[in-house]
Amino acid sequence: MLRHLFTLIWNRKRSNLLLISEIFFSFVVLFGVGAVVITTAKNYLAPHGFNYEQVWRLQVRAGQGLTMPRAELDDVLRQVKALPGVQTVALTSGNTPFIFNNNNSFFGYKDKQSPLTNVYDADDHYATAMQLQLREGRWFAPADDGSNHRPVVISQDLRESLFGNEPALGKIFTYSKPDKVTKPEDEFVVMGVVEKVRMESDFSAPISSLWKRLIPFDTTHWETANVLVRVAPGSGGLLQEKIARTVASVTRQWTTEVRVMNDERINRRRYTLVPVVGLAIIGLFLIINVALGLFGVLWYNISQRRAEIGLRRAMGATGASIGRQFLGEMMVVTTFGVLLGGLLAAQFPLLHAFDQPAQPYLLAIAAATGAVYLITALCAWQPSRLAAAIHPAVALREE
């Protein structure tokens, strides 16, 4: 019977072309949405590589056109750290986790080049404040003051891309520049390696990251200082007020803003979810349209094939087998559409499109295949039942 159905569909390929096209496009849309959703979900379930809970971002601004001397800033940090409830204070750059601010670059070691890597400034207390998970070596320490090169800590994925299986600690690398000429301050020495981190959003993939050590005796004047404050559990608005007052006690010209990192994470999550949800809604509408189209075409097909149904009943088909035939035909048509869509979708894992691993694509292909078969089966179910219920004598007489 299956061969018969294939023959029938193949011989009716022109009239089935529209159906096959609809199924092909449905498959492609479902595959696209599926790949995004699976990748997003996979990222969501992966660890962040740091602990954002009980971390506040304290932003201190010197004011328009003003700078803050490092000595005064260090004084502020010392006083904030001394407050009850504050566990750690760490100075960093403006690209703290979950905010729309980034700083990235490419790095090179011998003939190897890193992917685009997030670059953070971090002082000796940063790892404690963020609870980064150290894999190799150590975080920055006063012992690094005398280093001839800029001490850095890198993430595991950057380590893999630059050094592969070779030891990374103590290695010196630079920015990736075509002329190979580097300034001494742009030569980095690896002090440690931490686990991969996801600092963009809950749904982002790990991104290669590098932390450059902020030198304590650096005399650079700052316009804005970003400080990560790890606080004791249960700390709230009262402590935030105390921090603001502490800063103000050093100099009234500076302004402060305290943000909870977890709030920033949730805020960023909303922004990331909007396009994903939008895409899913568009996909859903497309699929509903396709489903209604399929339903209509099948309904029409059955009304056009009443005589054939009557004939098959006369030849020995039961009502149930007529229903199964129509369902089977739809499954065969679906198979043609899915095969075409699968051929296109298979290029994504084969070519590692968008630098993604093959697994989410393969899962998306499987999910789209299952969903398309389910949708077409649901759409074909009622018309098939209708076909099964057609009275053979009536159908034959109509002709």
Partner: protein, 248 residues
């Protein structure tokens, strides 16, 4: 070829249950058949107390004006419809209590249909069309189905047209294909509803000769609805209907 067809019939038929000899046993018996079509406002009596026996090997013509119930009778004989009252027996076995599945099996094994408008599936080749009834016999292999279909086409003189599609054939050839399809399952009875109605007189004669030949040489029981008295007179028995009642 005849042997192949004969073996098909032997394989698929069941022995009569009433103990009568195969040659004289009624293959189909209709007793007090009534068929009433009822809507909310109108009740139409299509058949009124019809008693008819079709014996094995007979060629029976059913005649009557349009709307007298001929096609309804053929639908009932073909187990495509149920009577409002009365009993239908196939090989001496009443079928009113049969399930849809059992009736479908009986149609497939014992009855072949030939229609005025051929009812061929245009998107299937001649061979695939003829194979159609055998698709509902899951025990048959694809090869066996093909062999039987070719043999049936050979019998109607169309074995050279297996790959053609219905649209590439003349009306007479299409009806021959329909007859081959009716024969392929080795049925005990062929029900033909105005098989020459859409054909010119020459082609009509060809089809009539073919049916007569099948009846005589193969012993296939045939019940044919026709408006053509000349064709009816060539058959063994003529049954006349008027306004749903048997009048002769």
């Amino acid at each position: 070829m005849e042997n192949l067809l004969a073996s098909t019939i032997d394989t698929n038929s069941q022995p009569p249950l009433n103990g009568a000899t195969a040659a004289t046993a009624p293959v189909l018996q209709l007793t007090n058949i009534e068929k009433v079509y009822q809507t909310a406002t109108i009740e139409t009596v299509a058949l009124n107390r019809v008693n008819l026996t079709i014996n094995r090997g007979e060629f029976v013509s059913i005649m009557g004006p349009s709307g007298c119930g001929k096609s309804t009778l053929l639908s009932l004989m073909g187990l495509l419809d149920e009577p409002t009252s009365g009993t239908i027996e196939v090989d001496g076995r009443p079928v009113q209590s049969y399930s849809d599945k059992e009736l479908a099996g009986l149609r497939n094994l014992k009855i072949g249909f030939v229609f005025q408008s051929y009812h061929l599936i245009n998107d299937l080749s001649v061979l695939d069309n003829v194979e159609l009834p055998l698709l509902y016999r899951p025990k048959l292999s694809g090869r066996e189905r093909r062999q039987r279909a070719v043999a049936a086409l050979d019998k109607v003189g169309l074995s050279a047209r297996t790959g053609h599609f219905p649209s590439q054939l003349s009306g007479g050839q299409r009806q021959r294909v329909a007859i081959a399809r009716a024969l392929v399952g080795g049925p005990e009875i062929i029900l033909a509803d105005e098989p020459t109605g859409n054909l010119d007189s020459v082609m009509g004669e060809e089809i009539m000769d073919l049916l007569l030949g099948l009846n005589k040489t193969e012993g296939v029981t045939i019940v044919m609805v026709t408006h053509d008295i000349q064709q009816a007179m060539k058959t063994g028995r003529v049954v006349r209907f008027f306004d749903g009642s048997q009048v002769g």
